[in-house]
């Protein structure tokens, strides 16, 4: 049972049609990818290589024509609560308080109020926002907003959590804290995660597997396994962990290759 992957992508190719000229942008080329239960897969690649495209397809926000994409064996045909997304921009609703935002998914699934508030409290504690339950998003810092977004996604209990550069808009210090926290949260909730970033460090720090994309049209260039137990993934230890540093340097080399060969053309 558990051998079967949670997310399966087979031979996925995507073109964006251009409305005016009729020419199209070739965004993804023949992607094959599996994400297994409890796995944390990080995707890195140069800017504009189609990472967001892939994530949007998996999220069901972008219809695809060529290839297969399934979650838990079911074809992806639109957005659904089985695939939670944390967006790069702040996508939490400004007119809902922190706890209302976090409980939104459960509210949409029409769960009883007591059950919602119990789960919401649990996740507020988990992401460390206790005391901010009744604040509105504009009263929070950027880092706190992303914590709300993560809690909102997890609270709806998706099969897989999709994250598109979730920490790109916060400052470097907060980013490190959030990465540590995300690691702890993933450990605690045992979630399956597909994580997109263009920070090589971030990918190597968080990912059980790192997928390196080529430049556009996006193809999977290599896959690197990083076998460090989750418990050991803490920034203060990681920077001296040779498995981490080796993997990071290797990924960096591969990504640099893509970027520089881009320059040569």
């Amino acid at each position: 049972m558990s051998v079967e992957a949670k997310l399966i992508i087979k031979d996925l190719t995507h073109y964006y049609p251009d409305e005016y000229t009729g020419e199209s942008v070739h965004a993804l080329e023949n992607i094959n990818l599996q994400v297994y239960e409890n796995e944390f897969v990080a995707i890195v690649g140069p800017s504009g290589c189609g990472k967001t495209t892939l994530l949007n397809i998996v999220a069901g926000l972008l219809p695809y024509r060529q290839g297969i994409a399934t979650v838990d064996g079911i074809d992806i045909s639109g957005p659904g609560p089985d695939r939670g997304v944390v967006f790069q921009e702040h996508a939490i609703l400004p007119w809902r308080t922190v706890s209302k935002n976090i409980g939104h998914g459960l509210e949409l699934q029409r769960l009883p109020k007591t059950e919602i508030s119990r789960r919401v409290h649990e996740y507020i504690d988990l992401v460390g926002l206790t005391g901010f339950e009744d604040r509105y998003p504009h009263e929070l810092s950027g880092g706190m907003k992303q914590r709300v977004a993560v809690a909102r996604t997890l609270c709806a209990d998706p099969v897989i959590m999709l994250m598109d550069e979730p920490f790109a808009a916060v400052d470097a210090q907060t980013r490190i804290t959030l990465q540590d926290e995300l690691n702890r949260i993933v450990m605690a909730t045992r979630k399956t995660v597909l994580f997109i970033t263009h920070s090589v460090e971030e990918a190597a720090f968080l990912g059980d597997r790192c997928i390196v994309f080529s430049r556009r049209p996006g193809q999977i260039k290599t896959e690197i396994k990083i076998q460090i137990p989750r418990e050991e993934r803490v920034w203060k230890d990681m920077s001296s962990n040779p498995i981490f540093t080796d993997a990071r340097d290797e990924i960096l080399r591969l990504v640099r290759q893509e970027v520089t060969s881009d320059d040569e053309q």
């Binding site: 409305e19 005016y20 000229t21 009729g22």
Partner: protein, 271 residues
């Protein structure tokens, strides 16, 4: 190859046209005329009274053009708008400036102006009629009254929005009070003046129509009003279309570009 390119570029152009502002406007106009004609010809009873067809309206416009009344009405109305708009703005700018420059004057007169602004130009019409009768003066007073407030209030807030730093900087360069007004405050308030101008002209346009209707002075307003009295609904529709189209053209091709240009050129303060 070439023909294929042509097809592509034609499709491109068509797509651009249909998503472009002017293209949409034209499509909308044609669409609504067809809809209007359909309702008038096939749905409504006694269309000549309740909703004459576009054809009837065109005929009525030709008739009025031939008799010369259409052009004279139109020029009367436009004349009032231009005169009333310009004078209203010319009165509004200095008063707005004075209020923006001096806090005491502003604190003193702001509530009064606020009160009179909420007494709309249309509501004071009966008062003005008692004073000046159903005359051109009455209509002009109503127009001036309506167009004055938006520009005055916008100039006021425009002057207030100029950062104090700029004024201090000019002071340290030895600028006199007058020079500060000319070189710092007026340019700084330009975007607000442009916004206020557009609002003022918009308000004035409504006031022109209402004033002509109420006072019975010749113009588009009176044309639609007498259309109702004469049981000539085609004339009403003609007037309404002219009122709407004139405003859209004026707004789209004069006021909006003016506003956008001014904000772009002088808009340091606003962004």
């Amino acid at each position: 190859m070439t023909s294929n390119n042509n097809v592509v570029s034609f499709r491109h152009k068509l797509k651009k046209f249909t998503t472009d502002g002017a293209g949409r406007l034209i499509i909308f106009l044609i669409g609504s005329i067809i809809l209007w004609a359909f309702i008038s010809l096939f749905i409504i009873e006694r269309p000549d009274r309740y909703l004459p067809s576009p054809m009837a309206v065109i005929l009525s416009s030709l008739d009025m053009l031939y008799k010369g009344s259409l052009i004279s009405f139109y020029s009367d109305t436009l004349g009032r708008l231009v005169f009333g708009g310009i004078v209203g703005i010319l009165i509004g700018i200095p008063i707005g400036l004075a209020l923006g420059l001096n806090r005491t004057i502003a604190d003193m007169f702001y509530p009064l102006m606020n009160f009179f602004q909420s007494v709309s130009g249309i509501a004071i019409f009966p008062v003005v009629v008692i004073w000046f009768g159903n005359s051109d003066t009455t209509v002009m007073i109503v127009i001036l009254y309506t167009s004055f407030f938006p520009i005055a209030f916008n100039v006021l807030s425009g002057v207030r929005s100029v950062p104090v730093r700029y004024i201090q900087a000019a002071r340290t360069l030895g600028a006199s009070r007058l020079q500060i007004i000319r070189d710092v405050l007026l340019p700084g308030a330009m975007p607000s003046i442009a916004v206020g101008t557009r609002l003022s002209v918009g308000f004035a346009w409504r006031a022109v129509i209402a004033g002509e209707m109420l006072a019975g002075r010749p113009g588009l307003g009176n044309m639609i009003f007498s259309g109702q009295e004469l049981d000539n609904t085609a004339q009403i529709l003609l007037g309404m279309v002219m009122i709407g189209v004139t405003w859209i053209v004026l707004d789209h091709y004069l006021l909006r570009p003016l506003e956008a240009d001014t904000i772009e050129r002088w808009g340091l303060v606003q962004r």
